[in-house]
């Protein structure tokens, strides 16, 4: 059930997108509309996406967030959330991330999928995801909630495109049948010091389960994940705060490494 009018959705989309583009703190949208629900929140997110498309921005892929049990418990939710990746979020491996374009960035190590066949829920499961996967590769997502001090509720964060801001992909890929994604080890270093460690199972038991969930959530809207889609499946590690001058490097078992500098 949505509670917002089209005008209210458009107003919130303009507000949140302006905060993103100008790197300004936003007020929680639920402060203004306390009765907003998930449907409203995704309506705002899709309106932000449409604003970008109308300006000629292209979509680069999708992301799933809140995929760890710890985070879901912390937020009091049962299911993960999703957002979109725009073309200008992309930064090359070893490249620079301009911190003056962001508010208070954090980094998460993830396993990214690229599909070779469409996936349409309901009924998508780990097996269908692996069959539809072209390859996987290492990724670091830079999340940047527009809300002050990362203080938000689930509805507000969905409206804010699940805190998406930048991402960096590694360049070593693997076919899903050649690696054991559940046990894939992940080591994150900031300025040479190990700050986070984990294994693939931290993402819903298996990163492919995250893609299945995404396909099933989109299926409820009648949408599919097209062939050739990049999907960030959610943090294997907790999110780590980064500042200007930091250098982040992530090593993933059998998938090489990916790194970036915050300038």
């Amino acid at each position: 059930m949505s509670t917002l009018t089209q005008d209210q959705v458009a107003e919130l989309a303009e507000y949140l997108e302006t905060c993103e583009l100008e790197a300004k703190d936003a007020q929680k949208v639920t402060d203004r509309y306390p009765d907003m629900d998930f449907e409203d929140a995704y309506a705002v997110q899709y309106a932000i996406r449409q604003r970008k498309l109308d300006r000629g921005t292209r979509m680069a892929g999708l992301k799933v967030g809140l995929t760890s049990r710890a985070k879901m418990k912390q937020m009091g939710v049962e299911t993960p959330i999703y957002g979109f990746l725009a073309d200008y979020f992309d930064r090359p491996d070893g490249g620079d991330i301009e911190t003056d374009q962001l508010i208070h960035p954090k980094v998460e190590a993830e396993i990214a999928f690229v599909t070779k066949a469409p996936l349409k829920g309901p009924g998508v499961q780990v097996g269908s995801v692996l069959a539809a996967t072209d390859f996987v590769l290492p990724a670091v997502e830079i999340i940047d909630s527009r809300y002050e001090n990362f203080r938000f509720d689930l509805v507000s964060v969905i409206a804010d495109n699940a805190s998406s801001s930048r991402y960096v992909l590694g360049t070593q890929v693997a076919r899903p049948q050649d690696i054991d994604m559940r046990h894939l080890g992940v080591v994150m270093e900031r300025n040479g010091e190990i700050v986070e460690l984990g294994a693939g199972a931290a993402v819903l038991g298996h990163p492919a389960a995250s893609v299945a969930l995404l396909a099933n959530m989109l299926g409820q809207r009648g949408e599919e994940i097209p062939a050739g889609t990049l999907i960030l499946t959610g943090g294997v590690t907790a999110a780590v705060t980064v500042n200007q001058g930091d250098n982040v490097n992530v090593r993933i078992q059998d998938l090489g490494s990916v790194g970036m500098r915050f300038v």
């Binding site: 046990h183 080890g185 992940v186 038991g205 993933i252 078992q253």
Partner: protein
């Protein structure tokens, strides 16, 4: 500490182990005890076990994670001795209620040596060349010290809080895996409770074994061909009780499981 005092404390720990009785921290009774004193106490405790007919089959390395080093306010690992009475097979029942006091489980990588390693001067290359295989492992640590109120000297004296351990049924050459990035998934009663990676132990489990070989080398003690070396936990310690079932899976290495009774 004089020899008599070292023997007394070692005997107290041995009695606590056999009688399943917790004792007060040794550092409360002997505030001046050094880490070297503590190793002498641990040797006495182990000698009592050997006198009972137990055979030393390897060593364990502890205090390898940043979190535990910060908790104990030290910047080096410690070690203890493994005996034949401590080891269990993959999937076996482990009688913790009969043998242990306040057990906690750790997921680790075990090294099986094919050549001796004697420090100083042992490098990671030497460790890899001397290792026949690495295996998945659960170490069940236990403290004879009341409520785990340990300082570094307490745990060193108490055989590095060693209890029992389980080896998996797969072994792979260390040449076939990157031990720094291997992932670990630990399940308890079917639920994933933690994940980690090799780098959690001093940056790499290989660094831990090199540290041990070099530390023991200063006393002229080699790591011997055939010995089992437990290289340190890659995940947080998990308290366990009879009835629990646990499984650890390590990417590229295999898995080990254990039922606690």
């Amino acid at each position: 500490m004089n020899e008599q005092r070292i023997q007394e404390l070692g005997d107290d720990l041995y009695a606590a182990l056999r009688g399943k009785q917790m004792i007060d921290p040794l550092t409360e009774r002997e505030p001046e005890m050094t880490i070297e004193d503590a190793y002498h106490v641990s040797l006495r405790m182990v000698q009592r076990r050997v006198d009972d007919g137990e055979r030393i089959i390897g060593k364990k390395i502890g205090v390898t994670s940043k979190a535990v080093q910060n908790m104990l306010n030290v910047h080096q690992p410690d070690f203890g001795y493994l005996t034949d009475r401590m080891v269990y097979g993959d999937g076996e029942e482990m009688p913790i209620s009969e043998q242990l006091i306040q057990p906690r489980a750790e997921g680790e990588i075990a090294f099986i040596l094919k050549d001796d390693l004697e420090g100083p001067g042992v490098t990671n290359a030497d460790v890899l060349a001397a290792t026949e295989a690495v295996m998945p492992c659960f170490e069940i640590v236990d403290s004879r010290i009341r409520d785990w109120k340990i300082k570094i000297q307490d745990t060193v004296a108490d055989n590095a809080s060693c209890g029992l351990f389980v080896l998996g049924s797969q072994a792979v050459s260390p040449r076939d895996v990157d031990l720094s990035t291997v992932g670990m998934v630990v399940e308890k009663n079917g639920e994933i409770i933690s994940t980690g990676a090799g780098a959690a132990a001093l940056g790499s489990p290989v660094n831990c074994v090199a540290w041990l070989a070099n530390t023991l080398g200063r006393f002229g003690i080699p790591l011997k061909a055939g010995e089992v070396i437990l290289s340190g936990s890659l995940v947080p310690l998990e308290p366990i009780k009879a009835g629990d079932f646990m499984r650890v899976g390590i990417g590229g290495i295999g898995s080990a499981s254990v039922r606690f009774v």
